[in-house]
């Protein structure tokens, strides 16, 4: 739908006058979940609506320790914008965030600190290990580096790379969004999740 902005704007406009035709650029809008549409109402299951709402408004907690943190800063910049996907508000308080992004080398001394931050997050919470060091200790196979954060907290998505490119970090966030969209509302109170947390010694 193309129109001439100069005719419609109430103030004089000099640039960007003709609206661009973006139908063939492959831009996706959020898809409506399956449900019954009627006059002024839309009925679907609660799982789907909640999943949709949660996935498009994930607030990340950047636990940026080293080089991958710099790549995250680039991802949050305007070129590889992460806030396109809903992660607009980056909070540094675990009490207010959904997604814990661990970016960088975690030393053995830092392990209990990371665990404490994870425990302070409220359900539902997801964890993303960005980079080789957070996933498996990376290049630092030594006495002082924790060989992967999954030794202290359960991880949902691992993003490999040293450091991963911003596109890779965005891909990781998109995979988290897939997990969030398809998660059942009863998962966090179920037995399998409890067993997973018990494996880490978390109540």
């Amino acid at each position: 739908m193309l129109y001439n902005k100069q005719l419609y704007m109430s103030r004089p406009v000099r640039f960007n006058l003709i609206q661009k035709d973006t139908s063939d650029l492959g831009i996706n809008n959020v898809q409506l979940p399956e449900g019954h549409m009627g006059e002024g109402f839309f009925a679907t299951s609660l799982d789907k609506v909640v999943g949709l709402a949660r996935k498009n408004s994930m607030w990340p907690l950047p636990f940026a320790t080293s080089c991958c943190g710099i790549e995250f800063m680039a991802t949050m910049g305007s070129h590889y914008d992460l806030s396109r996907f809903g992660s607009e508000r980056v909070g540094f308080s675990p009490r207010q965030c959904d997604l814990l992004m661990v970016m960088g080398t975690i030393a053995k001394k830092m392990g209990p600190v990371l665990r404490q931050v994870y425990l302070q997050m409220a359900e539902p919470r997801w964890v993303m290990a960005v980079g080789a060091c957070a996933s498996s200790g990376g290049i630092f196979d030594t006495y002082s580096v924790l060989q992967g954060i999954d030794q202290v907290i359960p991880v949902d998505v691992y993003v490999p790379g040293c450091p991963p490119r911003p596109e890779a970090i965005i891909d990781g966030v998109l995979k988290i969004q897939e997990l969030v969209e398809n998660e059942s509302l009863r998962r966090r109170t179920g037995d399998q999740y409890k067993a997973l947390l018990d494996g880490y010694g978390i109540q």
Binding site: G137, T142, Q147
Partner: protein
């Protein structure tokens, strides 16, 4: 009178004589080896004497030489004279069974954490240190990582192929 290597050697030899076990010069920096129980006396002399003036302790560290039986751990002090811009290295050798060295904390406050780091990685016991505990590693660690008998890699990994990684 400028502070050259000759003047430093003369003054120290006059003061300590037979306690100094050797002199070396590497990359333009003078280095001497002293008997381990005289380290504090040497540091105090180098600090207080007006002709010496080595009042800045740059580093305290250690090296483990497993082949020197009876004196395996070398504790190395780096001193700096800020006025004349002259650096000096002091070494002392202690046996690994009883690595006791007098602390320099009374003289230099910066030696506090540097000696804690040396204790953390080599196990050197600084006698008289106010708070000798691990500083960079986890508190529960029961070995001294930078000694030569301990490998660099984390031994708790089970997924790395030993053959490929040389262990």
């Amino acid at each position: 009178m400028s502070l050259t290597h000759e003047t430093i050697k003369e003054t120290l030899a006059a003061q300590f004589g037979d306690k100094i076990l050797g002199w070396e010069e590497s990359y333009g920096m003078l280095s001497f080896t002293i008997q381990p129980d005289h380290n504090l006396k040497a540091l105090t002399f180098l600090n207080d004497d007006p002709s010496m003036g080595f009042q800045f302790l740059t580093d305290v560290t250690a090296v483990h030489y497993p082949d020197r039986k009876g004196e395996e751990i070398a504790v190395v002090y780096h001193l700096h004279n800020l006025k004349e811009n002259v650096r000096l290295r002091m070494k002392l050798f202690v046996p690994i069974e009883k690595p006791d060295v007098y602390t320099a904390t009374g003289l230099f406050s910066g030696a506090n954490w540097m000696e804690r780091e040396t204790y953390d990685f080599f196990g050197v016991n600084f006698v008289g240190h106010p708070d000798l505990r691990r500083v960079l590693n986890v508190d529960e660690m029961d070995y001294f990582p930078l000694r030569k008998e301990f490998p660099l890699e984390d031994q708790t990994r089970i997924d790395k192929d030993d053959e490929m990684f040389g262990r």
